[in-house]
Symmetry: D2
Subunit: 181 residues, 4 copies
């Protein structure tokens, strides 16, 4: 899981966390990268040899699949997310299944997922970018007691997680899944 929100707490990170819990319940092993917790100067100056940055990149390399979550700012993914994606090798997502998730204050930004984020994920060589979800901020409540997600969003997430899990499982059947493009 890669979360690209600059703020804490974050609705997009909470959304990704909910997806992660569901996947863990199905036997997936998960690791989370909160980009904002990586060393800021190393990220911005592209120092991939920094141990914390290198460890995050290695996590991506070892993953079979990725959940990528971002709020939508200025009609696109966040700079925070892109700063991390910029540090990855050119075909870092080759052979991997990717699930994109976004949150935003207005339905008017829905298409940012497919017109802005998806081309970047494809350029990283993703084997399959499954159909993701854009969720309105107001459908996610953050409080001291945790995260509450609207029932209709949870239902749509369940379908999307099914699709994602099935794609990861099918991928395991494909002998060439890990080959570079």
């Amino acid at each position: 899981m890669i979360s690209g929100s600059p703020s804490v707490p974050s609705r997009s990170a909470a959304l990704a966390g909910h997806v992660a819990e569901t996947l863990r319940g199905r036997g997936f092993e998960l690791a989370a990268i909160q980009v904002r917790e990586l060393p800021p100067a190393e990220l911005l100056h592209g120092r991939v040899a920094d141990p914390a940055v290198a460890a995050a990149i290695a996590l991506v390399e070892r993953a079979d699949a990725l959940v990528i979550a971002t709020p939508i700012y200025k009609a696109s993914y966040t700079g925070v997310l892109k700063v991390f994606l910029d540090l990855l090798p050119q075909f870092a997502f080759a052979g991997k299944v990717v699930l994109p998730l976004a949150t935003g204050g207005t339905v008017a930004h829905v298409l940012a997922l497919d017109y802005a984020l998806r081309p970047v994920l494809v350029s990283l060589g993703a084997q399959h970018v499954v159909n993701g979800l854009f969720v309105l901020d107001k459908a996610i409540s953050l409080s001291d007691r945790g995260v509450a997600i609207d029932a209709d969003v949870e239902a749509r997430l369940a379908t999307i997680i099914d699709d994602f899990a099935a794609s990861v499982a099918r991928r395991a059947l494909a002998p060439s899944a890990r080959s570079a493009p």
Copy 2:
């Protein structure tokens, strides 16, 4: 196969034809829709009840997978292709695997595949838009004796066709593959 070239002969149609022959050789059953051969007035005025248009739409509905080929004009897919896609039901590609192919005169138009065409295919509900290919016009020779495709393009096509065929085959294993989003 859906081919969206306005001209005959067409390099993008020839490219799609080459992919089709390869797929037929692997046991796939194929049907081709040349949009430019459908009744022009019915297409442009959105008359989906016209028998020829309705038959083309029914072919799309019955397909497990689609190869979609277009030349790149004005930094995007052709109007001819989009005229046909506009007539399809909202989630016409639900549960289907889609392979996008494009041809163009300049490498400068490569990204039109991912930034322009792919979002439209995703909006049609495609289950998996596999990584497609942009081919330079000069790599495809059309003559009376048939089509000749540069060797390096053929090699890349072979990998892409493998990936596409594997995705279609894996899809057959997924019980929910045909459900709408």
Copy 3:
């Protein structure tokens, strides 16, 4: 004015008509191209020598500025609009000011204007694509008595038309405005 709706009556054409009337009231001379009224076979097969098609292309060439209206289908502009744009010379919009307008059933398609249509207009060499407007279908009522547009949309249109008219007027001051890129 270029209107790319496949149907009659059309909300996007009505929107463009409203803008046209306002511009006429300010002393602009206008000509309208309804793509769906051009000869369908000639459009689809790219026959630019056809007299009706050639006349429409000549209108574009003579224009100082263009209003381009399209409904949003499948997360993008219509194929009908693109079929006509595909017939234009490569830099047909060089030195011209362009105002893009779109209509759609859902706010979720707002970004199609900037992510899908604008790159095509820029590729045609437009000197200035002013900030356009996406209008919800329900804000435009079509009836026997004519077109009714919601007051808040009319107010936003007024600002946009001001901006467009000012850009066309400023353009007249620039000696190089008609040079190709």
Copy 4:
């Protein structure tokens, strides 16, 4: 000028510097923001109250026009650039003229300017995003003695700078140029 390269020296920053020198020679007053020199943690965590970050944002607010330069990574603008754009007010570019510049290793990334960067600049309310330029890395040589730019690129830059300067000058004639959208 806003430069979004993570590295030093940078071809995109050199390109922007060349444009800046030319504009200075024409009487423009310029200020440069190198995003990578702003405090990294403050940038990534969105702390707009930090004095250095606040000063950079104030520079943008005071500007009549902006030159924005970025290398293309992963088929889009850099995260470093977007991190800064994300901190700006929603309509920070209202009434301003914007010139986008990009550099990249391959012509295949040309369209990233219009499909990825331009929609973000438009979402910031830019009054006019003039036609920018994508320059191949190999056309810009960096050495101890300074920057050398290929003659044909310099010639195209001269035309683009003319267009940009004319748009800024015309803007000064428009009484409403600074109003928000």
